[in-house]
Amino acid sequence: MILELREVSFRYPGAPRAALEGVSLGLGPGEFVAVLGPNGSGKTTLVRVALGAVRPMAGSVLVAGRPVHTWTPRALARIVAVVPQREEQAFPLRVRDAVLLGRYPHLSPWARAGQGDYRAAARALAAVDAEDLADRWIDTLSGGEYQRVRLARALAQEPRLLVLDEPTVSLDLRHEMELFERARRLAGVGGPGVLLITHHVNLAARFADRVLVLHRGHSVGQGRPADVLTRERVARVFEWPVAIAPFEGAPQIVPLRTRESSG
């Protein structure tokens, strides 16, 4: 197991209810796991707890077999790479330098980036088909290009686990599909495990090996998409009536219009 959450609970100070309540999750090498849930269901909190950004009030988090808070940030960043939901661009860099930031956990404080680091950055750019963007300034990229570059930065960390937190929120259909396909290709034998946070039930159902469904901080189902994503469960979690039908072996949901559902 690269990542293991055992009965994890967390409540933000002053919040009326827990953001996570007794959630467990295991993720092995090369596995692609999607965490599904509506806004506010605890998905991003799960990422923050899993990465040691906040300490759970109960339960434990293990990364590569060790409690997450016993890793230094540098050592942790050599194992887990994150494409965060949001980040700033206070001081924009060229794409090649932005990707090279991913080598930080591998560099000693005074050393220059070496041949190995430049090669890793170049490989990462190639893996997302963004070699042609290398000399561009990152604040001039389109939404799709920007996400590819951020994915490349994470890959330059050469992680064993890749965490993607709502990576396709601002992307159109083509770029969204490209990103899911790319993440799916990356996971697998020899590649990193992928933990994908999303509210796209249909894409998660088609791409993920396993899904974890969160509802108000509780895990309400975990396993193969075909077993977990039943009509009742999806309707209850997303608080909207849905129809469901298989497509290429994966359950696909169609949200219903309210008038039809009331009849």
Binding site: P73, A77, V82, Q89, F91, Y104, Q157
Partner: protein, 309 residues
């Protein structure tokens, strides 16, 4: 290019002055050895310190408009200095020590106020705290100045606008020993500062020890600024304009930017001090006035660029 400018600045600082000395006799002249040389070198170190501190604070606050005096340090230092002058302790050693102490008090206050739950430093709260501490110190400073006698008033006024006329080999020696330490701390934080530009949580996920970086950068930048203020008064705009120019020319990678800012800041202040010494010779302009006269138009241009983009 920058190196050439730096050498030119240092050479002009030594060669040009109110007393004209032939080129051939420069090195033999006591004016050059005892006055111009230490003063020129001190100007370079002070300018470099202010520009480095500004670069570090901009990175820490993720704000390109931050400068070394934004966080209330100049207020604290001014209060210390004016207090010393009013109490008749305005000697060549007691005045810098009082200014330094004032800056340290302001630094400690802002640091303490900027600590939020869990011992984390919140840059936004530090900014507010810095402005508040600065405003309070300015009020007390003005109260003291308004009660002071005429000569004290003039001394205090000149100090508040900065000047390097107190330069000597001793002050230069103290600075040459002191400055490399915080500069090295900033240099070691160069890569984490690049990460911090993405925000604190993304920086952490890339392996930066965010709280340690923020603490070190804040303390190093403040200690540099406090020392600069102590030996030369409040010299504005070097710490704001030089890092900004550096960012336009060399980009935002702090490993390149920090050394460039040090040399650039040193160059600018050396030129400015030469101008301050010679423009109205035999009298002297406070060098802070020269940097402001150059700095404000440059800053206005940068603002235009910034808002136009």
């Amino acid at each position: 290019m920058l190196a050439v400018l730096a050498v030119a600045a240092l050479a002009s600082g030594v060669a040009i002055g109110p007393a004209s000395i032939p080129w051939g006799e420069l090195l033999a002249s006591p004016i050059v050895r005892e006055l111009r040389l230490p003063r020129t070198l001190l100007a370079f170190i002070v300018g470099g310190s202010l520009a480095s501190a500004g670069t570090g604070l901009q990175g820490l606050l993720r704000n390109p408009l931050a400068d070394p005096f934004l966080l209330g340090l100049s207020g604290g230092a001014s209060l210390g200095a004016v207090l010393a002058i009013a109490l008749g302790w305005g000697g060549p050693w007691s005045l810098p020590v009082a200014a330094f102490a004032g800056a340290l008090v302001a630094m400690a206050l802002v640091y303490r106020l900027g600590l939020v739950a869990g011992g984390a430093l919140d840059p936004r709260i530090m900014l507010l705290a810095g402005v508040a501490v600065g405003a309070f110190a300015a009020a007390v400073t003005t109260a003291i100045v308004s009660l002071a006698e005429a000569t004290q008033l003039r001394n205090a006024f000149l100090w508040l606008w900065g000047g390097l006329s107190g330069a000597s080999w001793q002050t230069l020696g103290v600075m040459a020993l002191y400055v490399p330490i915080p500069v090295a701390v900033l240099a070691a934080a160069a890569r984490p500062l690049d990460l911090l530009a993405l925000g604190e949580e993304p920086a952490r996920y890339l392996g930066a020890d965010v709280e340690r970086v923020k603490r070190r950068v804040y303390l190093a930048a403040s200690l540099l600024t406090a020392a600069a203020v102590a030996v030369s008064g409040v010299i504005g705009f070097v710490g704001l304009v030089v890092p900004h120019l550096g960012r336009l020319v060399w980009g935002h990678r702090h490993r390149v930017l920090l050394p460039a800012a040090f040399v650039g800041g040193g160059t600018l202040l050396t030129f400015a001090d030469t101008l301050a010494r010679t423009a109205v010779a035999p009298r002297e302009l406070p060098v802070g006035i020269v940097t402001a006269l150059v700095g404000v138009p440059v800053f206005a241009l940068l603002l235009r660029r910034w808002t136009a983009a």
